[in-house]
């Protein structure tokens, strides 16, 4: 078997040296009825690369990839172009096959990357501090709510400003229930925080100053959720927030059927010791050279155990690396331009859809995603679009949420409009 490093003669030599006849002797503490001497039945035996590739290709061929047709799905997972540099760099052994940087002398590459990831996230969000990543936007939000309740002790409710992504709501609800907390019907003084998604699930851009005012009146924290981080290249940074969390997979990571994605978590510096997850900090070495270490470990499960701020251990390290590389390639002007192009494409599609009878645009404003109202069940429309080889927007009742990006062509939009015209009229 190609991945195993010991040959039969190695094994025999090692057993002989230890003075053991059979490897099963090492398993002497296992109840002998439970010890399997032969491979488990009903499962295939080992395969060569050719056979494995064939098997996997066959499965992959049953899926329709996003790029293979006009594509308008978003809703928390956005299709963007990823520069070739990104995948090349993250496949370098030193990034791909290293562990969490617990030995900083031989992990400066990973640590300096995390440091720059944290720096970029704070700049984009207008926050002062960021951690080294979370699993995804939904779990980041759940952790943000738990943190808000640690800060606002005795407040066991969380309010939602409006139209939060349903997965984010559901995941957060799971965690709130575990903490004997729940969502409030409307914001009040029992709330530890108000959540506002920016832009919201339907693509509308809320006025954050209004939410801030409400938070101050009620004495609760303001949590801003951004699930399309490219938007922060055009929209004002949510710097009035206390905590900004969300999804950053738009840069560097890709769709992956919804995982791995890349959660981020940023907040004001005063809350740094309440944050979940790993944090990288700058320091000096024995020669006074600047270097980096994982820091503030006393918050974490491997030190604090049941008193930790979170149980998170592994995060999305390599995805954060991919994000950092992509964001670095874009830089100040590239990111702004990318955001502008995304918005322009959305405006173009918006204009085109306005002309299709049977469609009413819902949004007052938007970034690269907006919602239309149809005169029938959007699911049926989506199925009809599929017949024309178009992946439509997300169907929600009689609404459809369309997302575009720099990858959406004029031709894609025209095909969509033509098809909708056929379906609706």
């Amino acid at each position: 078997m190609r991945y195993l490093a010991l040959t039969k003669s190695d094994r025999d030599a090692m057993l002989k040296e230890i003075g053991v006849l059979d490897v099963n002797q090492f398993y002497q503490d296992v109840d002998q009825d439970s010890l399997l001497k032969k491979p488990i039945a009903n499962l295939d035996f080992h395969k060569g690369e050719i056979e494995v590739e064939r098997h996997m290709q066959n499965l992959a061929s049953k899926n329709i990839s996003a790029s293979s047709r006009p594509f308008f799905l978003g809703a928390g997972c956005y299709k963007h172009h990823i520069p070739a540099t990104v995948d090349h760099l993250i496949q370098r052994s030193e990034f791909l096959t290293s562990y969490t940087p617990y030995q900083p002398e031989i992990s400066q590459g990973t640590l300096a990357t995390i440091f720059q990831f944290q720096s970029i996230i704070t700049l984009l969000t207008g926050m002062e501090v960021s951690n080294a990543s979370m699993y995804d936007g939904a779990t980041s939000l759940a952790e943000a709510c738990l943190m808000a309740m640690r800060i606002k002790k005795n407040k066991k409710k969380i309010a939602i400003h409006s139209n939060l992504h349903p997965d984010y709501r559901e995941v957060t609800n799971t965690f709130l229930n575990l903490a004997d907390a729940n969502f409030a019907d409307e914001a009040n003084q029992d709330c530890a925080a108000i959540i506002v998604q920016y832009p919201n699930f339907y693509g509308e851009i809320p006025n954050l100053d209004d939410v801030r005012k409400k938070c101050d009146e009620l004495g609760c924290l303001m949590i801003v959720v951004v699930n399309e981080i490219v938007a922060l290249g055009l929209l004002q940074a949510p710097k009035m927030a206390d905590i900004v969390v969300g999804e950053a997979s738009s840069l560097g990571v890709g769709l992956n059927f919804g995982g791995p994605l890349l959660g981020f978590f940023a907040c004001k510096k005063e809350f740094i010791r309440q944050m979940p997850g790993r944090i990288c900090g700058a320091t000096v070495d024995n020669d006074n050279k600047m270097g980096y270490v994982l820091t503030l470990n006393a918050r974490e499960q491997h030190i604090r155990r049941d008193k930790a701020t979170s149980n998170i251990c592994s995060n999305q390290g390599l995805c954060a690396t991919a994000f950092t590389i992509h964001a670095s390639l874009l830089g100040e002007n590239g990111l702004k331009k990318l955001a502008l192009i995304n918005h322009k494409k959305a405006c173009d599609l918006n204009d085109k859809l306005k002309k299709v009878s049977g469609i009413k645009i819902v949004n007052q404003n938007f970034f690269n995603e907006f919602t239309v109202e149809l005169d029938r069940d959007a699911k049926l429309v989506s199925q009809e679009l599929q017949k024309d080889n178009i992946t439509g927007g997300l169907a929600q009742g009689n609404k459809m949420i369309f997302a575009v990006s720099e990858l959406t062509s004029k031709d894609d939009m025209n095909q969509l409009c033509k098809s909708l015209n056929r379906i609706l009229n």
Partner: protein, 506 residues
Amino acid sequence: MKSQLKEEFENNMDFTPKQIGLNQETDLLIKQSHKGACGVDLPEVESFQLKIGQNPRSEIGLAEVNEPQVIRHFVRLSNQNYSIDAGFYPLGSCTMKHNPRLNEKMARIAGFADIHPLQDQSTTQGALELMYQLQIWLGTLTGLTSVSLSPAAGAQGELAGMMVIKKAHEVKGEADSRKIVLIPDSAHGTNPATAAICGFEIKVIPTNQEGLIDFDAFKNLITEYGTKIAGTMITNPNTCGRFEKDIKKIADLIHQVGAYFYCDGANYNAIVGKVRPADLGVDVMHFNLHKTFSTPHGGGGPGSGPIAVRPELEEFLPSPHVRKNGDIYEFYTPKNSCGKVKGFNGQFGMHVRALSYILSHGADGLQQVAQDAVLSANYILYKLKDYYHVPFKGFCMHECLLNDKNQKEKGVTTLDIAKSLIEYGIHPMTVFFPLVVQNAMLIEPTETETKKDIDKFINIMIYIAKEIKSGNGDRFHNFPLSTPRKRLDEVKAAKNPVITWSELNN
């Protein structure tokens, strides 16, 4: 400290040649920024009426660099990392095994990497079938036949597993009366942290002289708390490198009081294909696909932490779960689901890699994985036992536990031994864990190291021990010396945290 860092940060280009050979340094990209540079070419946009309901943002503060700069920066950074591809990485309980590149190639097929989680399920049948096949493999290997792939990493698998247990009690109307979870003192920190998030109260099970759960103490806890107990979280093989020989009796006792047995699968590599946890009485366990099933650690993640449960607990699994309905594969939410723990469908890209690995090994190869991992660990234990103190006698599983008792009297500690290994070109073992042994050194070689590399490690460890014994160990206090950085000041980092480049500029 800030001013010191600032000075270092601002220290302008020094043109005096330095003898660095291949040890190239690189500045943070913000310091390399030069106005007008950009690493992408995007089309110009004609001016148009914005519809964002606000003014566009002005300066963000990102670096401006071109593509060659970015590549050189990250290549130089990568050169400062140790990796499993470069050398032996015997981190106990982390299972740093070879990461096959075939798996990377498979995960990048457009039909897997470029599909959206909200696409109509008729257009992602291959992805659902893949998840279903992985569920079958994990279920058959463990005998716990209902599998959820949803959890994002090991810690989230633990959480989902404990939520299943909580839900099972809730449905029986016993959630309020069963608040206690029994956890050994040798457990990973994630176990008590997870139980706490679930709202459980933790009672600690002590470890005995053999490095095993103290069975009498466990029995006493059962007697004392009885039906107040929701479950127990036990890692088997445990973090002392031992197989819990009383595991079946422990399972019987926990079941007698109506509680559940959660098995932390972090150390599953020792028994994959050798023992089915279901046969030991386990009700729920999690996997670390990034340990046993070789998905790369990526410098900290992503992981993937599926859970497997007995069929009678399937109705409590997190959503979504994949099932086969005739010829169609579909996501569904189990009847009494404990809830959704992650957005969308779990770390699918890791499921692809894990299945690719599993198919490569097959049932025969996986059994050999466990046997070789255990053999290699025992070989190291046998060879080092005369040089390092072995806290618990007997054979080990896939990792062996030592400590610095023999070396400490000469003033050299576990930390120095670990840092010396770095100097000698090997990644240290896990140190200072498990907590039940003072200054622990936990060594896990895995099955993907040749005998020659293992022998080299053993020789280096013996050399270090001999040097310390002959009084030449003082120099180890300063090790490593040949690394991109020497020992770093962690106290300074925590006292006044500087965690972004903006703070370096202030």
